[in-house]
């Protein structure tokens, strides 16, 4: 005879066993914050948001129960399927708003590029795990090729935001995998020089008729808009201008919950998705932004800790790359909303409305929890 109380307790213990308490607490704080913002920005979407949350948390729990060794088995198939789907998009995809991103599989409409956000770090971590102890420079070239192929396909859709996120995820695996600093430093310098050059020669390169190799007209437009939003205040620059007005007018303590004029009088575009940070900034001010950043720092800190104590190279690289993935999301989105980065369609992680991104991010959280559960036991 077992005490029913004990049964319930055991059940609860089994249910919570894969959950990392600290990560869960940070996640909960972020999700509550997102809920508050959503109630102001778009209360009519709360029912849908609840469903997204439920799916996301369920996915997280399921994935947290999968040991990292098992995940390695998924790496190659998931990557291959992802690449095949991307090719399929290129060939048969639906075109909406000038980009070919969606694939209709009959039972579900999906964006295969989303799969790559997880499949890419998984694949590269798996590859480095296979080559553990014998990593050569050649392996980094292979990794780069594995990264470049899907990124190229996503960029061609065109979807600058997602290709950026997938690239970042891959680069972080390569970085954590031990790519020589001698190679990292020049690439970073080149990147800085490129950005500086664009800013300095904005007038010339943004002139009409100038084509940018590898980028579509609308992508060029977005970058140019960022450099000089006032050049098209009614068009694409409108997002950036109205967003910075919302942020700036929030001041230190904000206008108060549901009191944001930019938000509630429709000046703020995409206020429940990519620009939800502008809602938070307008209504809760600089204090709200700092609280949010602290939560992200804690989340990233916890993620990096998990990576440090991970039991294998695979879990280390995966945990490190997925953690840095949150950072990329947060940084790009915050830069976008505050008008220092182009509007590339990257959501604020765990806060923006949108099922796909939320589920993908929760999946990442689940992986981190699984890695934490199967960490190296330090005696």
């Amino acid at each position: 005879m077992t005490d029913p109380f004990v049964l319930v307790r055991r059940g609860w213990q089994r249910f919570t066993a894969p959950i990392d308490g600290i990560l869960m607490a940070i996640l909960a704080a972020l999700l509550i914050g997102a809920y508050v913002a959503m109630m102001s920005a778009s209360p009519e979407r709360l029912p849908a948001h609840n469903i997204n949350l439920a799916i996301g948390l369920a996915v997280m729990w399921v994935v947290a129960n999968v040991p990292p060794q098992r995940m390695q088995m998924f790496a190659l198939p998931l990557y291959i399927i992802g690449v095949l789907l991307l090719v399929a998009v290129e060939l048969f995809g639906e075109i909406s708003k000038g980009a070919q991103r969606w694939l209709d599989l009959g039972f579900i409409r999906m964006q295969p590029s989303e799969i790559m956000k997880i499949a890419m770090p998984l694949m590269l971590a798996w590859y480095f795990q296979k080559r553990e102890g014998a990593l050569k420079f050649r392996d980094f070239l292979v990794a780069t090729a594995l990264l470049a192929a899907p990124v190229g396909l996503i960029a061609a859709q065109p979807d600058l935001g997602t290709s950026l996120l997938v690239t970042a995820a891959g680069i972080f695996v390569i970085y954590f995998g031990g790519l020589s600093w001698k190679l990292i430093a020049p690439v970073m310098l080149l990147g800085v020089a490129l950005i500086a050059g664009i800013v300095a020669y904005e007038k010339q390169i943004c002139a009409d008729g100038v084509e940018w190799p590898g980028l579509r007209e609308y992508q060029k437009h977005r970058v140019c808009m960022l450099l000089d939003p006032s050049s098209d205040p009614r068009g694409k620059g409108f997002h950036t201008i109205q967003s910075t007005i919302a942020v700036g007018s929030g001041g230190i303590i904000g206008k108060g919950w549901q009191q944001g004029t930019q938000t509630h009088l429709d000046f703020l575009p995409e206020r429940h998705t990519d620009f939800i940070l502008a809602v938070l900034s307008e209504e809760f001010g600089l204090l709200g932004v700092i609280v949010l950043l602290v939560l992200y720092c804690l989340l990233i800190g916890r993620g990096l800790m998990i990576a440090l104590t991970a039991s294998s190279l695979f879990s280390r690289l995966l945990a490190g790359a997925l953690t840095m993935n949150f950072f990329t999301y947060a940084f790009v989105n915050m830069g976008m909303v505050s008008g220092v980065l182009p509007v590339v369609g990257v959501p604020l992680p765990l806060v923006s409305y949108g099922g796909t991104a939320l589920v993908t991010l929760c999946l990442g959280m689940g992986i981190l929890m699984s890695v934490q559960r199967h960490r190296k036991r330090v005696s």
Partner: protein
Amino acid sequence: MELKTPEQELSGFRNRIAVAAIFVLVCFGLIVARFVYLQVVRYDYFATRAEDNRISLLPVVPNRGLILDRNGVVLARNYSAYTLEITPQKVGDLEGTIDELAGIIDIQLKDRRRFRKLLDESKNFESLPIRTRLSDEEVARFIAQRYRFPGVDIKARLFRQYPQGELASHALGYISRINRKEAEAIEQNEEMAENYRGTEHIGKTGLEQHYEEELHGVTGFEQVEVDASGRAVRSLSRTPPVPGNNLILTLDAELQRIVEQAFGERRGALVAIEPGTGGILALVSKPTYDPNLFVDGIDTQNWNALNNSPDKPLLHRAIYSAYPPGSTFKPFMALAALRTGKRTPTQAIHDSGLFPFGNHVFRDDKVGGHGMVDMVKSIVVSCDTYYYILANEMGIDMISEQIGEFGFGSLTGIDIQGEARGVLPSQAWKKARFKKPEQQKWYAGETISIGIGQGYNNYTTLQIAHATATLAANGVMFKPHLVKYVEDVRNGKRRMIEPTPVKTIDLKPEDVEVIKRAMVEVNKWGTGTRAFAGAEYVTAGKTGTSQVYSLKGAKYVESEVAKHLRDHALYVAFAPAEAPKIALAVLVENGGFGAQAAAPIARQVLDYYLTGKRPAGAAQPDPDGSD
């Protein structure tokens, strides 16, 4: 790359985690710096921008003042109607949008044409009506589909309406949309620019133009919170507009109607003035037009019909067109002769029907002449020879000086803009008018026909009526005006437009008496006898015929001259003769003899104004009148 032990690898990984953590902190630090910059350093700027976004100052257009006649008959009023308006700058494909709108609302070709015309004349960021006067059903249909049409909206607007249609259209004028040129002029004047924010119509002609300032009122303002699409969400504060003042005219709409009907299809002008005040009782120009056509912007078809008509209905003949006054000039000539001592009332000449001067012979109307003619008879029978001789004796400059006293050749100062000055001939005038020296010289022979109101003489019907009114008032000249009171709509207080005495001409009562007696006798046994047979009042008048076409001495036979070259018929009158209440001048273009075409119209005016008697039917021309 050398092989690493797992321990080396792990320590390398630790370093990389640490570097990544620092990188994250640095990047987030940059983000914090950016937010501090936006939210603290530039807070004031962005807070203002947000307020500017949110708050919009909307003009509240005042109701335009009404125009009423002296008896309260409404001549111009406002009514409220819905219009469908497009802001072209907010609409990408204009034609496509209009095509789609035509699917739910009746939009005809003329609406499109008018819209095109408005678009060409429009200012920036102005919404333009594609359809006016929508039915309630159409409004409901559009509202249901509004989401499909960004940049298209329904607006409730006040429209000007002229309920009497064509009646007195030249005097009233009309309002129409402010065009680009007017908008620029308004922008020049800061106060006016502020007051005309939101105003779309402005007085273009007539009283609507002259009294624009009184009629317009003061624009109010409403502070509203607007959303991103510019729609007002709620009102924050409101300064109400001050409605425009009403104009109460000296004009008598019924009298005006009788005159306009009396003219029938004939072209011409009539001005009736109250001699003691200068108040205008009727201001007629025929043909007239419907001013309502102009309010929403006239469509091309109607515009071409009005503008290209040979009858020139848009021309305000009473004040813009000048004609030789013909024999209506003679009473003023006679008065001048008395004043200058060139004639006494009883001094007579013998009229043989001919007046030779140099190598030219000036003829009288009556073959064989009028025999012995004194001053009274010269007016009653309209003897030309009497005035040929008189003019020759006076000389052009004396005539000019004397006649000019009565306002001939000068602006009367009527409260309608753009009146014509006409021509009061003199040596100085001719010198200024012509360029070549031989044309600049005044020839004595030219003075002769001046005496009978021909030659270079050219005056507006208004000037002739004005002079007649001044004569009727024994030389007291008042500025002719159409507005009697300006009424404040808010409290009903009326401000009277005081009659403005311009001057008093120094006339001897006995001289005036002679002229008036002669003019009374015109209607007893002279040229006006038939037209005024059986009148219940004593009236003074003078017929006139104004030459359009010089016959070079040949006999004028009406039936042989093309219609538009026929003489203009004139008549001047005032009544009752002993204490005049009304003075008038009437001109019928190409009407032939004044007694035949013009005097019967004057009879109808005087009958109605003095006895209230309305004409039985259309005016019957007198078959055998002569000057």
